[in-house]
């Protein structure tokens, strides 16, 4: 009897997750259709979101990018010196940033800064019936609220990643060249030689995918807060769903990173 109950619970849980996955899938398709559907939005809707998601993240990105580059410089220098190839520091720093660390870390920072905000904002709109109100005004929330956020995230993420990369390379330069006395020419000329279009392409594809993942998971979680299994009501419901969204989107970024790398490498 107890076993039966246990199996029933497990089945319920399974159904809940299948249901949620389906819901999120349909949600994504709906938003993408609405991105391309006429009439197009006023430009101000999108610029406002780019400001929220992109511009307000710049400081965090610069800060973390700088320190990531600096630590790469430090670690890279000490490791490469063992093989007598300090001259490769420039390309080592640039390649690890462009191919891997830039997109991933930028996406994680954006998840924490903007993703959580998106999730909480939409969750509150859902719980205070603002989304219902939009629907009753015959304004599709997919178009009015979500599409601008998706567009802004997909535009912002590659730009933020680029900033992260550049600042990181500069951080490596400060440590490698200014602090540890590496030759300035070799730091940059190695980079010119070794960084190929392929590498930049990989970083770009990753940043686009991560941008989509972050905005999809965070806004979707908020949008469906009322359907949460543990109850999505009130402030507590929103806070729980926001935590979930940040964790889920961080994990997805790292998992997806592996798969994109394995395809593009």
């Amino acid at each position: 009897m107890i076993l039966l109950k246990y199996i029933e619970k497990l089945g319920d849980l399974f159904l809940y997750y299948v249901d949620q996955a389906g819901r999120m899938g349909i949600f994504l398709v709906n938003v993408i259709i609405n991105i391309f559907k006429l009439p197009y939005y006023k430009i101000s809707h999108i610029t406002k979101q780019i400001y929220n998601i992109g511009a307000l993240s710049i400081f965090v990105i610069i800060f973390t990018g700088l320190f990531t580059g600096m630590v790469l410089g430090l670690q890279g220098y000490n490791t490469l010196r063992k093989f007598g190839s300090e001259g490769l520091l420039g390309s080592a720093v640039a390649l690890s940033l462009i191919r891997e660390l830039g997109p991933v870390l930028a996406a994680l920072m954006v998840t924490g800064r903007a993703g959580s905000a998106i999730c909480a904002e939409i969750g509150i709109m859902r719980n205070s019936e603002q989304i219902d109100a939009l629907e009753c005004m015959a304004i599709d929330p997919h178009k009015y609220i979500l599409a601008p956020k998706f567009i802004a995230a997909i535009i912002s993420m590659p730009l933020l990643t680029a900033i992260f990369d550049v600042v990181g390379i500069f951080g490596g330069y400060i440590i490698g060249v200014k602090l540890l006395g590496l030759n300035e020419g070799s730091y940059f000329s190695g980079m010119y030689k070794d960084v190929e279009f392929q590498d930049i392409y990989m970083g770009f594809v990753k940043s686009l995918c991560f941008g989509l993942i972050v905005v999809w998971i965070c806004s979707g979680k908020g949008y469906f807060v009322h359907l949460e299994r543990k109850g999505g009501f009130g402030a507590e419901g929103v806070s729980r769903v926001t935590t979930n969204a940040v964790v889920l989107s961080s994990v997805s970024i790292l998992v997806l990173d592996y798969f994109i790398t394995s395809v593009l490498i």
Partner: protein, 257 residues
């Protein structure tokens, strides 16, 4: 009651977890008429509204708006139907990151091609009508409950809807304001001739306005009658409701009769 009803609920049932809230609701709403739903709090009046708006799916039964089953039609048709609606939610559901002005302007900005200047004119007109000039730049959180309701009403009426749904429009308003609200309502309705469905607790007062009054009790619409017939109905629940809410009038009539 010979014309086709504009909105019909047929045997609508809805259960949440172990609680059956609606147990077979049947209700018809006629074009150009004002129908008022009364009943105790927490018995599902707002829920009926949400079923008609297509926000909640019934477990069983049908909701027909202008003959279309609102849960079977496509997104586009649903949108077309909803574009005739003006809705005031019980909690007003204002957009809390927008100013009062932007809240009321939103339907105009998103659904019409009106210029900013025209929008300003229309919005100010509606806000004046609701007696809330001077709060244009405030945010909903800075308003009192009654003011929020009135902003919600202005927003619901800004596109001159064909069908309006007001969920407790006067709850939280003082007596003078609520009387004023009914005057405004009466005026706009006789001018625009919309169909109205109102949830209200203002019992004797609302009878002057209503063409039909419906009592929701025990998950069922007990009856939907013109106010005079409602007050003299033999239905035990309606009788009890009338007695409870306007007891003294009823009793004095009894004495005189």
């Amino acid at each position: 009651m010979n014309a086709e009803p504009m909105i019909r609920l047929i045997d609508v049932r809805k259960r949440f977890a172990s609680q059956e809230i609606l147990k077979g609701v049947n209700l018809s709403i006629y074009e150009g008429k004002t129908t008022v739903i009364v009943g105790e709090s927490g018995k599902g009046k707002s829920l009926i509204l949400k079923h008609i708006l297509g926000l909640i799916r019934p477990d069983k039964g049908k909701v027909l708006v202008e003959g279309n089953d609102i849960n079977k039609i496509g997104r586009k048709d649903l949108k077309a139907i909803r574009s005739k609606f003006g809705v005031l939610f019980q909690n007003a559901a204002l957009f809390d990151s927008m100013t009062v002005f932007d809240n009321v302007a939103l339907p105009l900005r998103e659904r019409t091609k009106a210029s900013e200047e025209e929008i300003r004119k229309i919005v100010n007109e509606k806000l004046d009508l609701m007696d809330i000039e001077g709060s244009n730049d405030k945010y909903p959180a800075q308003l009192s409950g009654g003011m929020r309701k009135r902003v919600g009403l202005a927003r619901a009426l800004v596109l001159n809807p064909k069908i309006v749904f007001f969920d407790e429009p006067t709850t939280g308003l003082d007596v003078a304001k609520s009387n004023e609200m009914y005057r405004v309502f009466f005026k706009t309705q006789s001018k625009l001739g919309y169909t109205a469905l109102i949830v209200s607790h203002d019992v004797p007062k609302i009878f002057k306005l209503a063409d039909y009054v419906a009592l929701l009790h025990d998950g069922v619409i007990q009856d939907c009658l013109p106010p005079e017939d409602f007050q003299t109905s033999e239905n035990p629940f309606i009788k009890e409701f009338v007695q409870k809410t306007m007891g003294y009038i009823y009793e004095s009539e009894q004495v005189e009769g």
